[in-house]
Amino acid sequence: MTALEIGVKPALPLHLRVRQPDCLIALILLTWIPLTFYVMFGFYLSDTVRNFVLLPAIPATVALYIVAVVSWRESPVAVIGATLVFFWIFVAVAAPYLPLIDPNKPIAPFAEVGALKKDHWFLLGADFKGRDMLSRDLWGCQRVLVWGITATLVAYAIGAFFGLIAGYLGGWWDQAISLVCNIILSFPVMVLFILILNYLGPSGFNIVIAVTFASAPAIMRIVRGLTLDTKTRDYIFAAQTRGEHPLRIMIFELLPNARGPIIVDACLRLGYTTVAITTLTFLGLGLQPPDPDWGLMIKESAKVAMVWRFSYMLLVPALSVSSLILGFNLLADGLREMSMRD
């Protein structure tokens, strides 16, 4: 008996096996879970666990990047975007193992770019408390990435769920959900953020809630539109005739077939969320000191660094956040271009 006859798939060569969906999901989880745990619950981990938890994420990130480049090679824009995004993800997972000094340790206040002070070479200078800017900048991407992606994911889960219900079930469900969404969408986003975070208090988890509130209605509209379009297809009728549960149809039949536009929108929305988190932290409503993140660095420096000599304190985090957002936007652009081509 050959492998095919007993129902076992023939073994694929490694470079093809990696690109199977289940393998990709495993890689993403391998990157994602340690990083999220490290940033959100790092306090509770013992030192030994803390030191090793991010190690498996490094090869996973590299593998994902290679897969991304290979599968999107026809679109240079997408590859550039992926390179920017994966650069920061790599920095986020590798930060504890890079030769960086403690980002919260004050050494030489106002040391300028390239200065050698107290046996430490400040490649990007030091901030007003004497903390190394390079170290703070690289460590800072952890919090921005983790909270940004988590917030987008939660917003997507909730928005897509309600969108599926409104689109597939229609009727009263649709009316009620659309009304609530219209009310939320009539707020300018920043006003909504300020009100919610002021009510809940500034913290990472509350940012997730605020972003969910602000983005879920827009996501719901997109998913609802896609559902309305997809639900008239034959395979949906087939599933209905088979007697599948509506929830099963929504999640396993509708959602996977509407994924193209959703992925493009998710990339754009990741960019918006990153902007929102940085901006909110700058306004004092987001993540709290002392751990570094880009918005906080801008907020702290905006008061003291308004001089040409010290402008690197503002420029470094500003350019970092811009490069990450540029990455997300280019990725979205490239993916959209590719999906239009075929």
Partner: protein, 316 residues
């Protein structure tokens, strides 16, 4: 058309009513009353305050009145044009808000005055020939400028033009009276961010029109290219950008918060943030209602304008 307008306006009033009620309920909690007390008297004074004194303070501020009564008083006041009094600045909210809105309105005016011609021109030039060098260049610039968040653009512009070249003042606090130069950087920041988005939308709309049959016919008929673009293509290509530009009002109210806080410009966004951090309920109420009013109004204008401009869409 009138019916559509009527329903939308009615919806807006309903939404504003619901929102004001929710906000009032939120800010009526003990936590926020404490926050106002801490901000006014200082944290130490509040912790030393006896329960009785705290009650006296609440009564003096008019915060001990039951929630529904306060809300009704406030709603009645709004109907008469009285928005209450700011706790922080001890001024009537109406005049405070009007002054700040004037500042933000000035900012918004210049943003639109620069952004609309710029983004339309570049969008049209890019969309005229898809895939040409001018298209690639415009698209690239548009992606980059939209990718820079307002806070980053503000920093880069400040560092270059204010700190480096000393051409412009680094902030717009305007302590020594009104200065026009101080307005340049905030306006530029907002224009740069918004330019990319509107230009891309205009480009997409123009490119779509250029593919249509009637443009091909016009070209094949031998009309001069300039005439094809100006008389035939633009009319249809500008419908979509119009709605998008009107909707930018909504976005501007968000963007203005960061820019005003960064440049310390005394406008609407800074007022809202300060009020939210202080717990200044009447200011928050009024500012939120204004924001929602502008946002919903811009949505209505964009919808109505779209049906008005596009003869293919008509409501029965």
């Amino acid at each position: 058309m009138l019916k559509l307008l009527g329903t939308r306006l009615l919806q807006m009033i309903l939404i504003m009513g619901i929102i004001s009620l929710i906000l009032f309920a939120i800010f009526d909690s003990e936590k926020f009353k404490k926050q106002i007390a801490v901000n006014e008297l200082g944290g130490f004074a509040v912790s030393a305050l006896s329960d009785q004194d705290y009650q006296v303070w609440l009564e003096k501020k008019g915060l001990n009145v039951p929630f529904y009564q306060r809300y009704l008083n406030w709603a009645g006041g709004v109907a008469r044009g009285d928005f209450g009094k700011s706790f922080e600045k001890n001024e009537p909210v109406g005049s405070l808000l009007a002054a700040r809105l004037l500042h933000t309105g000035l900012l918004a005016f210049w943003v639109f005055a620069l952004m609309i011609p710029l983004s339309l021109t570049f969008g049209i030039i890019a969309g005229m020939k898809e895939g040409s060098a001018q298209d690639r260049l415009t698209s690239f610039v548009a992606v980059v400028t939209t990718s820079l968040p307002e806070i980053a653009t503000a920093i880069i512009l400040t560092v270059v033009f204010a700190l480096g070249l000393h051409w412009l003042p680094p902030n717009a606090a305007m302590v020594n009276g009104w200065e026009w130069q101080a307005l340049v950087l905030p306006v530029l920041t907002l224009v740069l961010y918004d330019f990319g988005y509107v230009a891309r939308m205009t480009r997409a709309s123009m490119a779509e029109v250029m593919h249509s049959q009637y443009i091909r016919t016009a070209v094949l008929k031998g009309l001069p290219y300039r005439r094809v673009i100006l008389r035939h293509a633009l009319r249809n290509a500008l419908i979509a950008p119009f709605t998008i530009i009107v909707l930018q009002l909504n976005w501007l109210l968000s963007g203005v918060v960061v820019v005003e806080v960064f440049f310390q410009y005394a406008g609407f966004g800074k007022l809202l943030l300060d009020a939210a951090l202080y717990g200044d309920i009447y200011v928050i109420q009024a500012a939120t209602l204004v924001a929602v009013f502008v946002a919903v109004l811009s949505q209505i204008i964009s919808d109505v304008g779209y049906t008005f401009l596009n003869p293919r869409i008509r409501f029965a």
